[in-house]
């Protein structure tokens, strides 16, 4: 065999294998098995016996994943074959950890239980994903309504700042509540804004990239073409002020910068944008107490004045204690004390997983995210249509950036924010939104083969 045929064979293999639905089915089988083992380990470690409850936590998500798989077979037969198993695996690990925290909570008589709800929400989110695959066979139509998506996205962002329905938790105004139901509209907004940015930029990319004068080898755009980036910057600062959350603000602005760069190929936008964001964050840390407190807590979480302050670094310190207890191999599921970490089932679930699965588990989980993002960017790379490329890039990046900001936050690499960990954290809005992203990526990947432009 010659060298040429070998180098040609590898991309072919990569391309061919993951698109097969049978390959996906085999992976789903394995992932489902892993989850059964994880749940069994939790029960054996905490309860010292297996109980029938296991079937519920195991079967419902598995049925949901099989349903999505079935719809893909019917409707998007050439969609990427790794994305669904990866999302299912990460989601299932989250459920196992939340269930484990529930058992700890129940054993000390607590009533703040999340696992059962999370299982049902996972099923709903998976059905939602299947519905997107079923009813949005042609995502390119989304391109027609960028401004509707944009306005809807902004409205969702503003909702939590409204009186009555808006809610502040942990200092961040990211929730709306209607009776017992609460929702984080920003999670859905990120999809709408990705659609908006992609649709808007695909129509404006030529004027944004071609015109302008050259200074020191870098093309400087005309002043009027700086308009969009300024508008988005002001909007991000607005989000920061209204919602008191640096993470959300960075997420949307980062999404926009990446898409304008991808559309135009101009590093200038990234450079200018990063400087604007840093300036904004620094000014905000001076002007707003809550931002500067977060910065203090981040810079020295173990200083007594930060540790003991209300809204200080207590949570972060507890998360770091958890990570540290995990060491390299972890305590094993059910073997650590993740229940000591505040909000271990949601904001700090990575610390809980880090304690029980160790550095090895953290690496594995981050690698799963990275692989998921890689598949998304591959879809972008191989798609013939520019809007689809931008959308796939935006959706993949937004997941990646969110994981980075959240994981960086709980590890003390970045200041803590109110963002949720995709697929892992307890919470419906996050699950719905991230499964919707999975569905859109699947639809886009399917269309790149079926609808060559």
């Amino acid at each position: 065999m010659s060298n040429t045929s070998l180098t040609q064979a590898i991309p072919k293999l990569l391309k061919a294998v993951p698109r097969s639905r049978n390959f996906e089915a085999v992976l789903l089988f394995w992932v489902s098995g892993i989850q059964a083992f994880a749940l069994a380990q939790v029960q054996l470690a905490v309860l010292q016996k297996l109980s029938w409850d296991l079937l519920f936590y195991w079967a419902v998500p598995t049925i949901g994943a099989i349903f999505v798989h079935w719809v893909l077979r019917k409707r998007a037969v050439s969609a990427d074959g790794l994305i669904l198993p990866l999302a299912f695996l990460i989601n299932g690990l989250g459920i196992a950890m939340i269930y484990r925290l529930d058992l700890a909570e129940a054993s000390r008589g607590g009533t703040a239980l999340f696992a059962e709800r999370q299982v049902w929400l996972t099923l709903v989110a998976m059905i939602g994903a299947a519905a997107i695959v079923r009813f949005v066979p042609n995502h390119i139509k989304l391109r027609r309504y960028p401004f509707i998506a944009g306005i809807a996205g902004l409205l969702l962002l503003i909702l939590p700042a409204l009186p009555v329905i808006g809610q502040t938790r942990n200092g961040a105004t990211l929730w709306i509540a209607l009776g017992d139901l609460s929702f984080q509209p920003g999670e859905i907004a990120k999809i709408l804004l990705a659609v908006f940015f992609a649709g808007y930029l695909v129509s404006r990319k030529d004027s944004l990239s071609e015109i302008g004068s050259r200074v020191m080898g870098m093309k400087i755009p005309r002043a009027k073409d700086l308009g969009p980036i300024l508008v988005i910057w002001f909007a991000s600062i607005g989000v920061l002020v209204l919602q008191r959350d640096l993470g959300t603000s960075i997420l949307y602005f980062g999404l926009f910068l990446v898409l304008i760069y991808t559309a135009t190929g101009r590093a200038f936008y990234v450079g200018a944008g990063v400087i604007m964001m840093i300036t904004g964050a620094l000014v905000a840390s001076r002007m707003f107490d809550y931002v500067s407190r977060r910065f203090d807590a981040w810079l020295d979480p173990f200083a007594a004045e930060n540790y003991n302050a209300a809204g200080g670094s207590y949570q972060l310190a507890q998360a770091l204690f958890g990570f540290a207890n995990g060491d390299v191999i972890g305590t094993g599921l059910g073997g650590g004390f993740p229940q000591l970490i505040p909000l271990a089932e949601s904001d700090f679930i990575l610390a809980a997983l880090g304690e029980e699965l160790g550095l090895a588990g953290v690496f594995a989980i981050l690698s799963m995210f990275l692989l998921l993002i890689y598949r998304g960017l591959r879809i972008a790379n191989s798609h013939p249509d520019d809007f689809s490329r931008l959308l796939a890039t935006g959706l993949s990046f937004v997941v990646g950036l969110q994981v980075f900001v959240v994981a960086g936050g709980v590890m003390g690499l970045l200041p803590l924010t109110g963002l949720t960990t995709p697929f892992l954290a307890a919470g419906g809005s996050s699950l719905l939104a991230n499964w919707a992203i999975v569905a859109l990526l699947l639809v886009i990947s399917d269309s790149s083969l079926r609808r060559p432009a």
Partner: protein, 483 residues
């Protein structure tokens, strides 16, 4: 557009790489330190699962976890209160201290040296058993030091000069760790609160931590060493010998103890000044040497440096940026010079060990439950703060101080004992802090000691180091010589 997408991918890979690095740093590099943070209650909770290792003195466990019929399954039992300052406490509700804290990773079976045991435990589902920690403490010497200090407040440290091994470490008043280690929240927490609110601070190991002490005249050893090491002075160097000395730049006069000159004559030698422990010659000497030279000598002896034995030792202090009057006061260990008893014992041990200071250590060995030796600390040189010659001169003068000078009560018939007393002032009306440090036998030192007694030993400003501290030191040294 593909080039841009690839670059976006690269940026994401870099972001995740930074997360990998951060996770490794927390979970590997910093994990032990984070685990030992007193605000991390995981170590206490581990008792649910782990039989915590014992701490042994002279081959006999003095702290151990005994099977107990409740949810925690084991109760921490402290054999004798005389070891409390060393062992510290291990509370389910209020963190830990002492060796219980600094050796926690071994005692709880979580140290990286026990990695394979942990893997085994993970596989067969049985809990790891903590490792046993054997100390360098000699029970007979510890008992002698405890008894000799009696009901007084203070501390005693005894070190083997040639190895740095700590033979005894006593601090009074102390606490009953059993009360803090109880499994019932209310009594355990109340005992803890009572101890923290007690003005005598029984939870503090006075030998190595707390507010530290003014050394008074025992600090003259440091100043004398600085003088001899400078090459500008010998033991025969002489100083003006007035009855009263005006501190430079002030209107304050100081006197020698007893308001007399330092022996007859217009001048006095360094040798006589040290043997008689006169303040004025040392004030003159300190000014002539300058604070920088004294500070450098003190630093060589360990002042200002972090030290773990493995309990954390509070660094002793020689003040910065003083004027001449203040420098003069430091010549006899007053002003803001502050030391731990361990620091003074280390200085005596270095003099005894011909100028070589050994790293003080209290752990002789750590043995895992499968009898693997996890830690076997060897004697280690910490520094060489003075030449052999200087050490020899200081030894000679210290022997004379005990035989013909002001430290007579440390003398042991049949042995040459080297020693230096101190009677430090704390304020015009406050009781004195009484000191003795020294070693024996002078020719072949087996033990170096430091004794500090607070509150003037209960007799205000009437006691002296010779009267109160020296006999305590003698009892400890005798225990070593008789063993």
């Amino acid at each position: 557009m593909n080039r841009q997408v690839r670059r976006v991918g690269l940026v994401l890979v870099l972001m995740f790489l930074s997360l990998f690095v951060m996770a490794s740093s927390i979970q590997v590099l910093r994990s032990d330190a984070l685990y030992q943070d007193s605000r991390n209650v995981r170590a206490s909770y581990e008792t649910y699962k782990t039989q915590r290792g014992p701490i042994l003195v002279g081959g006999v466990p003095v702290v151990e976890s005994i099977p107990y019929n409740d949810a925690y399954r084991f109760l921490r039992n402290y054999e004798s209160v005389i070891y409390s300052p060393i062992m510290g406490y291990f509370s389910l509700f209020n963190g830990s201290s002492g060796l219980e804290r600094s050796m926690n990773s071994y005692l709880s079976g979580q140290s990286s040296a026990q990695f394979f045991e942990q893997i085994n435990a993970l596989l067969d589902g049985k809990p790891v058993i903590g490792a046993a920690v054997e100390l360098t403490i000699d029970p007979a010497i510890q008992r002698a030091a405890w008894d000799a200090l009696g009901n007084r407040k203070g501390a005693v440290v005894a070190i083997e000069p040639s190895t740095g091994r700590i033979l005894a470490m006593v601090s009074k008043p102390t606490f009953d760790a059993n009360k803090l280690a109880g499994h019932l929240y209310e009594p355990a927490n109340e005992a803890f609160l009572a101890s923290t609110e007690d003005e005598n601070q029984p939870l503090i190991n006075r030998a190595i931590e707390g507010d530290l002490y003014h050394p008074g005249s025992v600090f003259k050893l440091v100043v004398a060493a600085a003088a001899l090491e400078s090459g500008r002075y010998t033991v025969a160097s002489s100083f003006p010998n007035p009855k009263s000395y005006l501190l430079p730049g002030t209107a304050t006069e100081i006197q020698n103890s007893g308001d007399k000159t330092c022996g007859p004559g217009d001048t006095v030698t360094l040798q006589v000044a040290l043997i008689r422990s006169c303040n004025i010659p040392f004030a003159e000497l300190a000014v002539a040497l300058g604070q920088d030279r004294i500070r450098a000598q003190a630093a060589l002896m360990g002042f200002g440096a972090d030290l773990s034995i493995p309990m954390k030792v509070t660094p002793s202090i020689y003040p910065e940026k003083m004027d001449e009057a203040q420098t003069a006061l430091t010549g006899f260990g007053q002003f803001d010079v502050r030391v731990t008893p361990l620091q003074m014992a280390m200085i005596s041990a270095a003099i005894a060990n011909q100028g070589v200071m050994m790293q003080p250590q209290i752990v002789r060995m750590v043995v895992a439950s499968n009898l693997n030796v996890l830690l076997d600390p060897q004697p280690k040189v910490l520094s060489a703060p003075m030449s052999r010659l200087t050490a020899g001169y200081l030894t000679r003068m210290m022997v004379d101080a005990v035989e013909i000078g002001v430290a007579k009560r440390a003398g042991i018939p049949g042995f040459a004992v080297a020693g230096k007393t101190g009677t430090a002032q704390n304020g015009d009306l406050d009781p004195y802090t009484l000191w003795f440090t020294g070693f024996a036998p002078a020719a072949d030192p087996k033990v170096a000691v430091a004794v500090v007694v607070e509150d003037g030993g209960g007799i205000g400003q009437n006691g002296t180091g010779n009267q109160i501290a020296a006999p305590i030191a003698r009892a400890v040294m005798e225990a070593v010589l008789n063993r």
